[in-house]
């Protein structure tokens, strides 16, 4: 539907000019305009359905669950027990109690298991929402991520394990494998490239492309009618990379997130955003 509309706009231009490069540029401009319209809705909780997830996440955060029948409100996301402001801007980070570098989703699972003694099998089964199936993780990430709005992405490097995992993430970004020989860098390693008509952010260099990206997840994806987290984005990119489906909340996903956040340092968080 949208693509047809974009092509029509591009056709109109083609009558006037006359180079394929120009048609494609016009199509891109139209698609940019549409994305701009989404952006205008981001800060309006009435227009951005991602805020419904934020509200659901707030309820889940204070809901008593698990064997211990307590809420998550004493969960330490790195800023101290129960402190949410700015926590997302500094995740993933090293946690002494688990002796691991964890992203928000790994940390939430850890808190459910240790603070609440909740059996997380069901939560993990619903890691990605679908029609008629809400995802606690998506909702919690929307709620907690939102508490870092206006703050800057601050990659953590003070603990040796944080440095190490960032380096692993960087190496993984360039690992070429699978039937197509793809790595992340195959699609995200050069500026100004696109696959079909989709612009591809370049994460090989630190700066704006990485900042704009990492500061805008979690996001409400219009095409999927769902709020999505970085776990879902990377899962989807591994699909396109013709690699297997990664385990949820696996070490390598946190490693990649560490590396992407390093490239995105200083990006100002505004989530949940809205994307295609």
């Amino acid at each position: 539907m949208r693509l047809r509309w974009m092509s029509a706009a591009a056709m109109a231009v083609s009558l006037a000019v006359g180079s394929a490069g120009v048609y494609a540029q016009a199509a891109m401009d139209e698609s940019e305009k549409e994305i701009e319209r989404y952006r205008a809705m981001i800060n309006d909780p009435m227009a951005n359905p991602g805020y419904l997830a934020v509200d659901r996440g707030e309820v889940l955060w204070s809901e008593k669950r698990g064997k211990k029948n307590v809420s998550l409100e004493t969960c330490d996301l790195g800023m101290g027990a129960g402190k949410l402001e700015g926590a997302y801007a500094q995740l993933p980070r090293y946690f002494k109690d688990s002796d691991k570098v964890m992203d928000l989703e790994q940390r939430l699972l850890w808190c459910m298991q240790t603070v609440q003694e909740l059996d997380t099998a069901d939560v993990v089964a619903r890691r990605f929402s679908g029609p008629g199936r809400a995802s606690d993780m998506e909702d919690l990430v929307a709620f907690i991520g939102n508490k870092s709005n206006g703050m800057k992405i601050e990659p953590q490097t003070s603990h040796p394990k944080e440095k190490e995992l960032t380096e692993i993430g960087e190496a993984m970004f360039y690992r070429r494998a699978g039937v197509m020989d793809f790595s992340c860098a195959s699609c995200h390693g050069e500026e100004g490239k696109r696959i079909r008509l989709q612009g591809l952010p370049d994460f090989s260099k630190p700066g704006k492309a990485a900042q704009d990206t990492m500061a805008s997840w979690p996001t409400y994806r219009v095409s999927q009618s769902a709020l999505r987290t970085m776990q879902h984005r990377l899962w989807d990119c591994f699909r396109q990379q013709r690699w297997p489906s990664p385990d949820y909340a696996a070490e390598g996903l946190t490693a990649l997130t560490m590396f992407l956040n390093k490239q995105a340092a200083g990006g100002e968080i505004n989530v949940p955003s809205i994307k295609r």
Partner: protein
């Protein structure tokens, strides 16, 4: 026209070294490589053994991974030699099939994904990376434009043979190329390769109009 020339110029520069823009001093050393492999293993622990096997590195992938595509001249030679040896020319000596079927091969990005089922017919997904038919607006720019590919080469025999090699195994021509190795991986079968070749080289193909 100007745009095509510009792209060609850009390509010429790009091809002086290997395939990607990573800086030369950025490499994955042996210790980092070990840690990365352990992390990859942990990340796909729930995948089936068959899927896990799919992302083990062959020697070419290993070299391109470590060097982040900026392989030394010696490694580039070794890669191109090894990959060239894998190329199989068409059994009947005919390089060109049906360009109409070739469009389907070039246009489809299906196959090889964990969301695909066993009946999925693989596509070459050439349009994801290349401009081909100049009237087709939805094309990617990871690779150079292939518009008028056959016409520009005057449908020359040698150019046809070279293109077969390129598509069969891109890394026989450019070490660590970002283009998949469609023939040697058996991602496309011989007939599909012939058809997509015809899409590039048949004078009636819209690519050459």
């Amino acid at each position: 026209m100007t745009i095509r020339t510009l792209i060609a110029a850009g390509l010429a520069i790009g091809l002086c070294t290997a395939a990607s823009p990573a800086l030369a001093q950025e490499k994955t050393d042996a210790a980092a490589f070990q840690k990365m492999e352990a992390a990859v293993k942990a990340t796909f622990s729930r995948a089936t053994p068959e899927w896990q096997k799919r992302i083990e590195l062959d020697e070419t992938q290993r070299l391109c991974t470590i060097a982040r595509n900026q392989v030394s001249a010696a490694d580039a030679d070794a890669i191109q030699k090894r990959e060239s040896a894998s190329i199989v020319m068409p059994a009947d000596g005919k390089f060109l099939g049906d360009w109409k079927n070739g469009f389907a091969v070039a246009n489809s990005g299906r196959g090889g994904q964990f969301s695909d089922d066993a009946k999925t017919i693989n596509g070459g997904n050439c349009y994801a990376c290349h401009q081909m038919d100049p009237k087709e607006l939805s094309y990617g720019t990871l690779g150079p434009s292939l518009a008028a590919y056959g016409r520009d080469r005057k449908y020359d025999e040698a150019a046809i043979k070279d293109a077969w090699k390129k598509i069969y195994n891109s890394q026989a021509v450019v070490a660590c190329s970002n283009m998949p190795r469609f023939g040697v991986t058996k991602f496309l079968d011989e007939q599909q390769l012939k058809d997509v070749m015809a899409y590039l080289f048949d004078p009636n193909s819209p690519v050459n109009k």
